[in-house]
Symmetry: D2
Subunit: 386 residues, 4 copies
């Protein structure tokens, strides 16, 4: 499937609102592009900042039809409009996710929420309840699950191409916090009140953990973590070394770091089973290495020879024409759109539609909590549960 625009089934764009994502934000702009790429959404309302003036200025700069001072007002008023928003993107710092999401969920407005789910485990559990109590959908933007070759890897493992999984190696090093930084993106991510107890574990470790589980279909049972804050004065971890034990016997290692100088955004997953191994890197996302035991390594390319249906349905352009981060992110939005359209008539999303849910989000927050707890007990094994 070449996903290149609305189609007859869809009829019109889904009306979308946004909470957070003002002028000096990073991820808000990403969500907006992602929502546009496949033409399923139209951003029509926003409360883009907790500061009303900034919200207004940012909304005007984007030409938003309806601009609100705060998210609660937006939820109330949009819910009352006939042409009100059908979905909202929540792209604030972590500690606001729950407070914002619940206002929309309880009014039946679908929520597309950035990760991690929340800044605390308590909030995460409340978010699950709020989502379960609502008719609205909850989509968590673990955007790396939108990459076609990640889908390819998942499909191959599900089909048994690797046999029983033995070893999972996942890592997510960055380097932008290798020194003390002082700007908005850095500040809230290193403030435990906004970010949560985890630093690198929350910001990127949850991506790595989610990716490993998404691709392998495995569930982690327990972990042992040695986390550090290398930069003097830092209040949350900036590096984490984690051992994983999965149900069924597979073992793993997870490394997240924001002080690994020379790494921009090097999320990488390697999975080894009885019959084969696969390797994928986010910085070179259109390729998946696949080696059946005793055979030459093969390079499977997005939309190219060797790629299967799961990758094909989320690819837009031919092999050799690289898709990137924004397209992977857009796929989450497009999957959400498919589910939202289906939900209009009370139906389920079409076969093949996959997106991270509130339950995946809870698992991520449990992961962070377990890392912090294990590390405080000298890397003792800690179960990955509530």
């Amino acid at each position: 499937m070449m996903v290149t625009g609305r189609n007859e089934t869809l009829g019109r764009r889904i009306r979308l609102g946004m909470v957070g994502g003002g002028n000096d934000a990073f991820i808000g702009g990403v969500h907006r592009i992602a929502a546009r790429i496949d033409d399923r959404f139209e951003l029509v309302a926003g409360a883009l900042s907790s500061t009303p003036e900034k919200s207004r200025a940012s909304g005007e700069a984007l030409g938003l039809p309806r601009i609100y001072d705060d998210f609660k007002e937006m939820a109330i008023r949009e819910a009352r409009r006939k042409d009100g928003i059908e979905a909202v993107s929540i792209v604030t710092p972590n500690h606001v996710h729950y407070a914002a999401a619940k206002e929309f969920l309880k009014r039946g407005i679908h929520v597309i929420c950035d990760k991690p789910l929340t800044s605390t485990l308590a909030d995460a559990k409340k978010m699950v309840k709020a989502a379960e109590a609502s008719d609205a959908l909850f989509i968590l933007t673990h955007n790396y699950t939108g990459y076609p070759m990640v889908r390819q890897a998942r499909e191959m493992i599900a089909k048994g191409d690797l046999g029983a999984i033995r070893v999972v190696q996942v890592e997510y090093p960055q380097d932008w916090l290798a020194v003390e930084q002082d700007f908005k993106q850095a500040n809230w991510r290193t403030d435990p009140n906004q970010s949560g107890a985890g630093g690198s574990t929350g910001d990127i470790g949850t991506h790595a953990y989610n990716l490993a589980c998404f691709v392998t279909g495995l569930e982690a049972e327990s972990l042992a973590a040695d986390i550090q804050a290398f930069v003097p004065g830092r209040q949350v971890d900036d590096n984490a070394h984690v051992l994983l034990r999965f149900k069924g016997g597979a073992r793993g290692m997870l490394w997240s770091s924001q002080v690994a100088v020379g790494n921009e955004n090097t999320l990488r997953l390697r999975v080894y089973g009885e019959k084969a191994g696969i390797e994928w890197s986010q910085e070179d996302p259109n390729y998946l290495w696949y080696t059946p035991f005793g055979e030459p390594k093969r390079l499977i390319t997005r939309n190219g020879a060797g790629a299967g249906e799961a990758a094909g349905r989320v690819s837009r352009i031919p092999p050799g024409h690289p898709e990137g981060y924004l397209e992977g992110f857009a796929t989450i939005y497009t999957e959400a759109a498919e589910a939202i359209i289906a939900a209009r008539d009370g139906g389920l999303a079409p076969d093949g539609v996959v997106y991270p849910t509130v339950h995946d989000g809870l698992k991520g927050v449990q992961f962070v909590a377990a890392c912090v707890k294990s590390s405080s007990k000298n890397a003792a094994w800690v179960p990955l549960e509530g």
Copy 2:
């Protein structure tokens, strides 16, 4: 500059029409995504196929407000509307480019045209005249010039980082025509009546040639070409070996191929000067290798350390978050938007705005003509002129 949406200056999206790009087309869908990514355009009208029924069906599938049976009708009627299209994307097979473009140019509607400019040199010259006679802008989508690291390379050479250029190596191998194919995309590209006298030279050689000239700022003086049609029965070249001589003394080699098995879309440029060399590959577009003589090779990354202003202003997201083909393509649209907005008030595009023009398009068609002529004379040197 993070290019993430319309802004106050812009006020509203530019109204866009499209000629060609129906259901079974490839490049039309790419243009549509590209036009959306930075939110400067809204597609509101189309004549998406030369077959009225297909045009209608395709337009409806996309939810287009206004659908036309043919491009001339669209040009006439849109020109008369107050809310008519301000720009049109022409994404038909090559032989239709001129006939379509002139209808819009003469009515003051800006033209964004796919490459190569035309299928014949005669048409190309007429297109130049039509563009020069019009107040409207003419933008040619040599999309590879939109990649940030291509802009980076160009800026470095212009600044003198390489010193005087000596050697240019450019190649564009693909493999999809290594065997006889029979589907729409293959058929018109191998039909000289639709594609023009060049096969690989026209379809991808023009990209390679344009890229080399765009990055180096050099102008080719003459070429010697040995072109082949390896697949039995093929009427246009599917492989071309070209020697280049540039004004000022630099020399080059250009290879285009659609039979190089194992190459998906491997456009690659290497430039060597007195002081340094650079290397860039389209399939790994976020990176530029740069080696000053006698120093270690350096990896300059999009929006990362070492990248300059020219790359930064066309980047959307941080380093390590790969941008791809669609974002590069979108940049051409966004540059066009900047120029179109400026033109509304009779102004020039802001500083830094760059896009391929009708003159670049003429050079591309001259390149194809020279390749064919040189090859017919046993690879004699042929000047690159009208």
Copy 3:
């Protein structure tokens, strides 16, 4: 320094014997080539197998002047000859190392011993005593320390180019034991009586651990290990996940595996400090990535721009002419030769000469013991000491 042959100082080749390394061995042949490459040794005697017939047949095939039925006989008789061997290479399975080495050490014959030092910690301690009691030198062939770019990395860290080290990531995955195997090389390596308590930890984990310590100059304080034997019936680990804590505060992860399908011999080291990061891979050994924080990544090449003295003195040929595993191994022999020549006159090895010692060997065996102990205690932290 281009090391290309004996020189006047040396006068003649060092007379070398070999224990182990018969026809069906792998590492014996490697040692023989390594000893020849820089022309400092001549192999003149051998007890190439514990089976006298095989020892004889193998020795004759190699044209050895003196062939012995067992190593003790060789030690005794060579020690008595005026032209007896000056050094011996011990290339047997691990459990024989100590018994063989002590016979030569006590007779003043230098020992070049394959790793790991011994199969048991008790033997390792006895080996240290035997070496300390002897005038002869003891060289352990942790051959990866012979790679020029490993030397380069070590020199850069020692000079402070990285600042204080924070994170060490070292991994050594292979895949040849992903299934049950039945041939000599596999059999003794998976037999705890011959190999020792460690499987992958002993065979390759010790290399990884040694490399990390050699390059960083750090000493590990404690480790926590989760080791597995994935292949049914296997008596030693074939995969190990290890957390490391270094004196001074750096932290590390070490992964060794012989079941990671798709990895041939992928030893890889990454070190991150306050100021910069470096990355090196054994399968691409002529290159070292170096990224100072906030600057573009640089590719330092063996004997090329950016490479320093430590790498230069162990390089033989110009950059771009790849040296490989055998040259790195040869460097250990050549360093040994430099030390042996100096020792003839009771002198010390020249400045810059570096080779792994019996103490490094002890640390390796301690590493294996600690991994096994930690894992038996559910990955509790275990100190890295006797």
Copy 4:
């Protein structure tokens, strides 16, 4: 076959002499290591320089038993000795090759000669005659043909894995002559009296040309060359752009350069046939990319899965343990040894033994001559013959 030493068949090392290769030479040292690696040769005599004092000093530094003032004296006296040399390595600048080689050939001493064969076409023809008139063997060290994966590529093409060859792309860029240099290695290579009429074409273009022919089994029919001397004052080409036409219809491009800044020694070959394509790079020599049309790209590794007999018989160590330039060079020596041993009894070299001959050398000199001639005629096509 693991080639790790002399064997019973061989009995003893072949006695070798050397002409050229004194202290300040590069390639002499390479030949000496190459001759030692597989233990088939013992260097026992030398005329290492045309300056008697240097010859003596260099020979003594190497501990050579017999040192001569000039090669003719060496040929005469060694031929008379019972234990005289059986083979000689000629590693002088090009213009001395013929004069030296003929003295040994006419006395029945096998010649192992560095490339290019000679500095002039006239000498090359005389060399062929001298070799044909002699019972001795003539081996030309086009060492890149010794790489296992080059053998693998050749075997695959010979077996028909690629189908009929269409396109050959070969390039050999370096950068060490990008500026004026003044040291021995640079000086003779840029002096037409010593090097011959070709600069980069002779020094490295001949390697590239030989490699293309060796791997594909094709013979070039004609070429068109545009050669340049970019560095002011340079008397021979330092960059060459060459079009090739092969018998049977395949076409090629060849680029040699010594001014391509950022390239150390980047010999690279790509061959595309009707059914598949292959790619190989000298700087990463243990890997061969192979793509059957319509299937994923595969990475064939030296001694690993997918590698065939031709590569296996010239590999020494397991996959993942990189062999390099010296091992590839050693293979030429070992192939020569196999042929020399067989010749002792008047026999032919065993099956599978392959090495470049005097005829390959002639073709290389013809290639240089054709490049110079074509370029002087404005890149007209010139046949590749005498």
